[in-house]
């Protein structure tokens, strides 16, 4: 039947879109569990390091590592973590907006900005912006490995060590829960001393080798751990955001199909009615 064949085609196309969106929703729903577990498993390492650093800062005050000293800001660095793929609502857009607002404050004060990016979306975004893109990791996939991050982190650590940048921020989506993800700009270097944590144990460590070398090692690893943690938070956020976005898209497709079906039925009904009345009036004329 020729009636409303365009509508039928349209319905079919919306239906296949719906299949894709609901499949994406289910994929993310199954991946989010793993991402969340990974995120929780990585926490003890950073926390343990934080404790050691806090303790060392208190117990050996004679040595202050450059990573712990505030200095005059001439240039700032950002590590921006984004998703690799789109279709996750406003997740990346919100993140970029927040980081740009943060960067602009520095730029207005004539402070230069260095950026390293992790993830496709951030790389493609920041290459078009008037900041210095220093290094980049294209994609980490669903199983991020700390090894993949060593490069970008080292670029920034070296820059900070050589006093090319005077502050280092980490930008990522904080996974609050499955519904809420918050874009976050976190200061990594110089380390902010924990004010609320009072360490009262009055013991000092025996250091092997020197305190300086140990601290140097720990601080480098600590920054890596923070970035890695950010990557995992961001991954969990990505899946959560995609789940919600794709659920909305699937719902929209369902509504659209319903409306189109209604229009189609009406058109078909009208055509039949018209045909009948034509036949009836034709018969009457005979």
């Amino acid at each position: 039947m020729a009636v409303g064949s365009e509508i039928v085609t349209k319905i079919k196309s919306v239906q296949s879109t719906k299949k894709v969106t609901s499949a994406l929703e289910m994929v993310s729903a199954s991946k989010i569990k793993k991402a969340k577990d990974q995120m929780l498993e990585a926490r003890p390492y950073a926390r343990q390091m934080q404790k050691i650093i806090g303790h060392m800062a208190h117990s050996s005050p004679e040595y202050r590592h450059p990573f712990m000293k505030e200095r005059e800001i001439k240039r700032v660095g950002y590590v921006v973590i984004s998703t690799d793929r789109g279709l996750c609502g406003g997740l990346n857009t919100n993140l970029f907006k927040k980081s740009l607002a943060h960067m602009r404050e520095y730029q207005d004060g004539n402070i230069e900005i260095d950026v390293v990016t992790v993830g496709n979306k951030a790389s493609n975004f920041f290459k078009k912006i008037a900041v210095d893109l220093k290094a980049s990791i294209p994609s980490l996939g669903d199983n991020p490995d700390l090894t993949d991050l060593i490069g970008v982190v080292k670029v920034m650590l070296d820059a900070f060590g050589d006093e090319k940048i005077d502050r280092l921020y980490l930008v990522f989506n904080d996974f609050v829960n499955s519904i809420t993800q918050k874009p976050e700009v976190q200061q990594m270097l110089p380390l902010k001393p924990d004010k609320d944590k009072q360490i009262r144990d009055n013991f000092d460590y025996i250091y092997e080798p020197e305190a300086k070398e140990v601290l140097e090692y720990i601080l480098g690893r600590y920054v890596e751990a923070l970035v890695f943690q950010g990557v995992l938070e961001n991954l969990a956020s990505e899946h959560a955001a995609r789940m919600v976005a794709m659920k909305n898209a699937t719902d929209n497709a369902t509504d659209l199909i319903k409306d189109l079906q209604l229009i189609y039925n009406k058109a078909r009904q009208a055509a039949i009615t018209q045909e009948i009345s034509e036949i009836v009036s034709g018969a009457a004329a005979v």
């Binding site: 740009l100 602009r104 730029q107 290459k127 912006i129 460590y205 025996i206 092997e208 070398e213 140990v214």
Partner: protein, 140 residues
């Protein structure tokens, strides 16, 4: 027999946690055996084995490719590296990351102002919000 709490963690995951009788590891200055009430100590670890002796006398072995061993009065923690690390490997990774950035910059010649992009982003987000609101109103 006295015992001490021991945690072995890597950046990716928690490897071991529990009460142990003794911890053995290869420190940068040599072999270490940590018994309960060892003096507070921080040492870097060499690639090698970390062995814990449980309270029942059995042993468990873990391989680390470096890391830190910290001894507090009531706690031994090992922050293990799982990946093989060396200055030149790290350096190579850094160079690779830099090259990736250069490659990205090569095929984009237009550099936009932050303020300009910020305005565009705000517009896109406002459109998203407007769409969501519109949909809500239509449903009602």
């Amino acid at each position: 027999m006295s015992s001490i709490q021991c945690d072995i963690v890597s950046a990716e995951t928690e490897i071991f946690s529990g009460e142990v009788a003794m911890v053995f590891a290869t420190g940068i200055a040599g072999e270490l055996g940590i018994a309960p009430q060892h003096a507070p100590l921080i040492t870097l670890l060499k690639p090698g084995e970390v062995r814990v002796e449980l309270k029942d006398g059995t042993h468990q072995n873990y391989y680390v490719s470096g890391g830190i061993l910290e001894v507090q009065p009531y706690l031994v923690s090992v922050l293990a590296d799982t990946a093989t690390r060396a200055e030149d490997i790290d350096e190579a990774a850094a160079i690779q990351a830099k090259e990736e950035a250069e490659r990205l910059l090569k095929d984009s010649d237009k550099r936009q102002d932050i303020a300009q992009v910020q305005a565009e982003l705000s517009k896109a987000l406002a459109q998203l919000h407007a769409l969501a609101r519109l949909k809500k109103n239509l449903k009602r």
